[in-house]
Amino acid sequence: MGRYVARRLLLTIPVLIGASFLIFAMVYALPGDPIRALGGDRPLAPAVVAQLRDEYNLDDPLVVQYAKYVGDLLQGDFGTDFRGREVLDTIEQRLPVTIQLAVVAILFEAVIGIIAGVLAGIRRNGFLDNVVLVSSTIVVSVPILVLAFVAQFVFGLQLGWFPISGIGEGWYSFVLPGLVLAAGSLAYVARLTRTSVAENMRADYVRTAKAKGLPRRTVIVRHTLRNSLIPVVTFIGADIGTLMGGAIVTESVFNLPGIGRAIFDAVRAQEGAVVVGIVTLMVFFFIFFNLVVDVLYAVLDPRIRYD
């Protein structure tokens, strides 16, 4: 297992470099001259421009720029934005918000998704099963964007249950955006759980468990759910890594000062260093959680051995 993890970690390096270079190259192609834009109406003195261009390596070829960037990154230096603010500071300030949002979303996804899926899967074609099937089909089809506004309008403006903007009310502020961010995955988790439970209910070893005279609870919890949840848990694990993509929209609509909002602002303001820094971080999370999932898979299913 240790060797497998080490090998996988090595394999992630090209992906990490490739993805950050891809973004770096695209950001490099961003239009306009950000330095000139800094001066606003009054043009900056040529000497100042030259100094700034040098400071941000703007005159080097792309690959050299990128190499220098990675060199700094390896020393924990994410660079600074054009106003001199450390990118790492921005990340440190914004990340906790996104983590809170992600935690709330994952909780919704796991708790509601699994419970709904189990109830549906145990009684196939029952009333609850049909409810879960229909509602998950609908929820999967609703774009996050739409869902965000519906949630804001219904639960925020009409019912007044939840705040719809900002993080002024602590964890409570994250309930609505968390639910919106989680909705699509929640529906998917419910379906995955349902299929998996229904499939396992018919498995030979569940029949054996019944033939052993185990109590119904044990048959369901230990011999059906335990096995059924393997794909579900791994999906949820991998989903943590992808939640940040959805956070861009959610944080924008709900006005949450997190990483997603930061990267959106940075793209609009053409803050290359911020964009590349945050994207690299996102890709790292994505890869990291995928690795965690692989390891988790081996822990949950003894048949899987990576050595």
Binding site: V146, F149, F153
Partner: protein, 316 residues
């Protein structure tokens, strides 16, 4: 290679040489399998409400994209009068008016065309990239496969909306319908690639392809005659669902201000314009949202129905 294997191979070559005319039986086997797959699928589809609901919605939105004036009841979406600004829905104007006082029904209806064009165009590019890269990786294997798979991993690690956001912001593609479609496809082809790759690998190692190969069929012929027909079913399912996903992503990008721009008519722009008026004129967000959702739903339902019908293993 052992002597025995070499002998077997020579034997096969001899057989292949004498029985070239018999290459067709294995082809027929593929055709027969395919035929029963599709006729079984049709029987199954006919009974599936998802298919009928999804199909009906798809037809409605297709008609809306082709003949918007009919659905707009002849009203020109750009004929506006500020005196009607933000008026609520009424008998004469079902969707009310937007802030500029334009008939909202006409605007929402005219938004269908861009969404569908972008969805279809983007999926075509996705398929092109996915099928080409996936088929090459799966068919040739080895180093080619490793390299292409790593590149796919790289794109896979970037969220669709984020990648498209950055690309569109650079402006190199422009901001039109084609630009948005290409930006989406550029960060959305990876699943198609993996799908095609795994199909190709699975079919490549199957007996009937081995038989065709033994009878001297060329790589190209095997790819076209045997591997692609088998990959069609899963790719079709994937394509249908992906159109829905891409339409949603387009609206999101446009909403975020990097997709289509005024004066283009787009649901994303309408939602964006309406968001600040959610309190006073919620219908401005509501109507494009509903229509957008129904469009996405149409494709996802149809995709679900197709999957149920075409992949019996996935069926409940």
């Amino acid at each position: 290679m052992t002597d025995q294997q070499q002998a077997d191979l020579r034997h096969d070559e001899v057989e292949a040489g004498t029985t070239t005319g018999l290459a067709s039986p294995s082809v027929d086997a593929t055709d027969a399998r395919q035929n029963s797959l599709w006729s079984d699928a049709w029987k199954d589809l006919k009974r599936n409400p998802l298919f009928w609901i999804g199909g009906l919605l798809m037809l409605v939105f297709l008609a809306m994209a082709l003949l918007p004036q009919v659905f707009a009841r002849g009203v020109d979406p750009r004929e506006c009068s500020l005196s009607n600004s933000q008026q609520k829905p009424s008998a004469g104007h079902w969707f009310g008016f937007d802030q500029q006082g334009c008939d909202y029904l006409a605007n929402v209806v005219y938004g269908a065309r861009n969404s569908l064009i972008i969805g279809v165009l983007a999926v075509l590019v996705v398929l092109l990239l996915g099928v080409v890269v996936g088929a090459i990786a799966g068919f040739y294997g080895g180093l080619t496969d490793s390299l292409l798979s790593r590149i796919t991993d790289i794109f896979y690690a970037l969220p669709l909306v984020l990648g498209a956001l950055v690309v569109l912001r650079t402006g190199t593609l422009g901001r039109g319908v084609t630009a948005v479609a290409i930006a989406l496809a550029l960060f959305g082809w990876m699943t198609a690639m993996r799908l095609v790759r795994s199909q190709v690998i699975a079919v490549k190692s199957s007996d009937y392809v081995a038989a065709a190969r033994a009878m001297g069929a060329s790589n190209g012929r095997i790819l076209v005659r045997h591997i692609l027909p088998n990959a069609i079913a899963p790719v079709l399912v994937y394509t249908t669902i992906t159109i829905g996903v891409l339409i949603a992503a387009e609206a999101t990008l446009t909403f975020l201000g990097v997709g289509l721009q005024r004066p283009a008519i787009s649901w994303g722009l309408q939602i964006e314009a309406g968001q600040s008026l959610l309190r006073t004129a919620p219908h401005l967000v509501l109507f494009p949202s509903i229509v957008l959702t129904l469009t996405v739903m149409a494709f996802i339902m149809m995709g679900d129905a197709l999957r149920d019908a075409l992949d019996p293993r996935q069926r409940a």
